[in-house]
Amino acid sequence: MASWGGRRREALAHVLARVPLQPPWTVGEFLTWLEEDTGRTVELVPWTGSAFEPDNRCGLLLGGPNRYVIRYDATRSVRHQRQQIFHEVGHVLCQHPGEKFRPTASVLTEGLNLAGIEYMMQRSTFDSPTEAEAELVGTQLAVLSRGPIDLDSEGEVHRIAGTFERLR
């Protein structure tokens, strides 16, 4: 289980300090920056028909040399959707190595273009250090996120609203 000690906090602060954005941000704004930062495209793809299989309740990160695909459950609350997406972003920011994944047609890849996908990361519990770390980074980012879950949303209005409220 991940420790919440000072060293971990320091490491997380280091990861978050690398983000050159002003909160609150939208999912779209953050992922646009992530694309620029990593040089890879980032696609958001909600689970489709077979999403209710027990293993598909959370987010999933599929990655390769040129692209990331983040799958999430669009039937959950907007807050939870953001948490799922930013959890996967947490893996990217923390540079966690995924497990090798040879794409085949399955529930996990339903509706996806599998070109260039080489590895995956999927959360089941938080009992591994990488999952706990990604969840903690994801929490910090999701708390500062506003707006709908799409790649085109702009956060200007939310940043103005953030002038009159406490963000975290």
Binding site: W4, R79, V157, R168
Partner: protein, 377 residues
Amino acid sequence: MSSMLQLEATSSLPAWASDPMLLILGVVIVGRIVFVRERQLDQQITWLLFWWLCAALLREPWLQNLLMDATPLTLSDIRLLTHAAAMFGAASLYLIVRAFSNVRRVRRRTIVGAYALIAVLVPVMAWISAPARSSGVAIEELHTWRTAAYMVIYSLPMPLALAAVAAACVRVFRHGDETRLTRICAAVILLTGSISAFDHLSRIVNGVMLSLDMQNAFTTWRSESNDVLFLPAATALAIAVGIPIIAAVQARRSNDSSSAAVITLAPMWKDLSTALPTISLQGTSTLSSSIEREHRMRIECEDALYELLPFMDTEARGAEDLDPVERCAAITDALERRLDGGMPSAPVPAPAWLADEDELLRIADAWSKRPATTSLV
């Protein structure tokens, strides 16, 4: 020293009116430095208030007398400094617009550039106003191109920046999701911004008219209106942007809405995370911010309830209008069924009630009020 210079440069507001407004500006600035300093946007808002406070103080007769006694500065020079402070405020406002328009942090060189531009314009204004200052009259009394040029340089940056702020406030109104507080604050900013824009634009008109040697009721009114158009508007804005200070103090005293939500959620969250430890991230209850604690508790409660959905009665699971007390009973039954090794039904999509944040709070509230005899996990 001319009477017009005195009229233009010195506040005519009585102390009972100006002192409370100056005090509010000062308190909000200090409060924001202490509690609201994380974002560049917030920092630049504090700078804006600071420059406006400087401008307001430099119009106060007691400070002017103090400066004239202690330094070689004349009232004309102090008026130039007042205008310089207001222009540095315009630079802050420009940076505020940059900060909320773009999610990326404003580059340091942009910040330095904005203030450097004003630092260049102030000596230009000093050069333009030199004849007036050496004669001890107001720039408006020169009735030459210098009056118009000075007023354009001084007054143009602020309305340009305010136009962008006003457009953003209109977008806040058109955006359906913002809270009533945000809309009220946006209305205050729109109103005060409009007054400030009118203040500056009318100065330009006044300057041009006076440079053409036109004097009439408008130019007289304009020369007498500096106080009314500036300090009340600045104070209203300070009150609007002072709200996060109250929120921060409330949070420190665990008296904010998130702390209240945490108290409501805690009993259910504790029971669910004890029964289903895999949904819980270690340390949720020790997160330093109440907003983060509320967020984690909501996420983990939603995860646990989602986990329990296949163990719920089909009727209870799908019913959207179930009473929170009945919902708690259905959750408890599902939890017991799961812990007893019961077979789950086929996986199901999340019902709408599970994604409803208000409903989760109502369920958590009902959970904490369950009779003591209700079996727990």
